[in-house]
Symmetry: C2
Subunit: 176 residues, 2 copies
DNA sequence: GGCAACTGGTTTCATTTGAAACTATATGTT
DNA sequence: AACATATAGTTTCAAATGAAACCAGTTGCC
């Protein structure tokens, strides 16, 4: 370890500090952490802001929670999913998925059918209403995304996705 | 609208699907959304995974919640912050900040001092214990971050931060 | 000085959350 | 066939959350 400045951190000028960070030698004064330079924090904060802004669209305009939106979106992408699968995709726990499904079914936006082979699983489908809602919601969500992305060039966007994919891979690597 | 494919979406090959998405013409069939290509979702999911992995470090090893960690980290970066300021930085609501502070004070990791000018505000400081904890925790957090970032080149890392900054700017722009 | 409007921080309360218990079905093992 | 083990999905329960009420102090205005 001890190897902090791997990535030059560009703005290594910690604004207005003795900048005597980077451990390594002996530490008499405690290490400081600039959260603005700490990727997990930055990323989280950005994602959070985006989520929140976006959830205003499907929350206020459509009365849909984030969990519900995710279920619907997955169903729009691929029909015949089970609660389990949705849970895996969205990384929401069983309970949350279950509740979202109940709520959506309550509003007849989705419908369930029992699997014939396995009585425990139930396949989920969009109803007409669900599809109708999505055909309003999805374009709006995309339009919003486009506005957000308008600030990026195609290359920047491409690179961003690629970098994120790398991080995801590394993450699964680290997780084990 | 209707202008989806602004950014060429590179891996347009949705793994194992008819890939017949991207609307554009007339829609008789409802639009489908591939969450895997939807930045808000991707970003959120990535940030979430990172947060969760990292929180294992300060959660399990140090018994610290995310909120508490954020408060501590900000205090490590700049002493003499108020609850208000921390709330602004971290975008956590008053209540959450207040609770984190209480918990941290309970464990004597931080200390408060009343402001002389304004009896309502109280400045927060790390205690010796708090500093001690951070001088263990911060290096570990950084080490973990380094492992995660090991997969990126310096340029990729730089670009990532730059792109994120752009998105953040755009977001504040859109928010108003 | 006194009154209204405001602000920093805490508390309350109803809602949301997630872990663990539970139900019902399925699979494997003897 | 009987029994243990596993799995899909639901429910329960205690803890975390956030909006709004609240308290204490401050500022502005007459």
């Amino acid at each position: 370890m001890t190897s902090r400045p791997r990535h030059p951190k560009l703005s290594d000028a910690t604004p207005g500090g003795p900048a005597g960070h980077d451990i390594g030698s002996h530490d008499d004064e405690p290490p400081r952490l600039d959260l603005g330079q700490f990727l997990p924090y930055r990323l989280n904060s950005l994602a959070d802001r985006i989520s929140q802004a976006l959830s205003r669209i499907y929350g206020e305009r459509f009365g849909i929670t984030i969990a519900e939106w995710r279920v619907l979106a997955w169903l729009s992408h691929r029909e015949e999913l089970t609660a389990k699968q949705i849970g895996e995709h969205t990384r929401m726990d069983k309970a949350k998925v279950s509740r979202a499904i109940q709520a959506l079914e309550g509003r007849t936006l989705i419908r369930r059918t029992q699997s014939a082979q396995d009585q425990r699983v139930q396949y989920l489908h969009l109803t007409q209403q669900g599809e109708a809602l999505l055909s309003e919601l999805i374009p709006q969500a995309r339009a919003w995304e486009d506005e957000l992305l308008a600030t990026l060039s195609s290359e920047e966007y491409r690179d961003l996705l690629a970098t994120m994919a790398k991080l995801e891979r590394q993450l699964t690597h680290l997780e084990r």
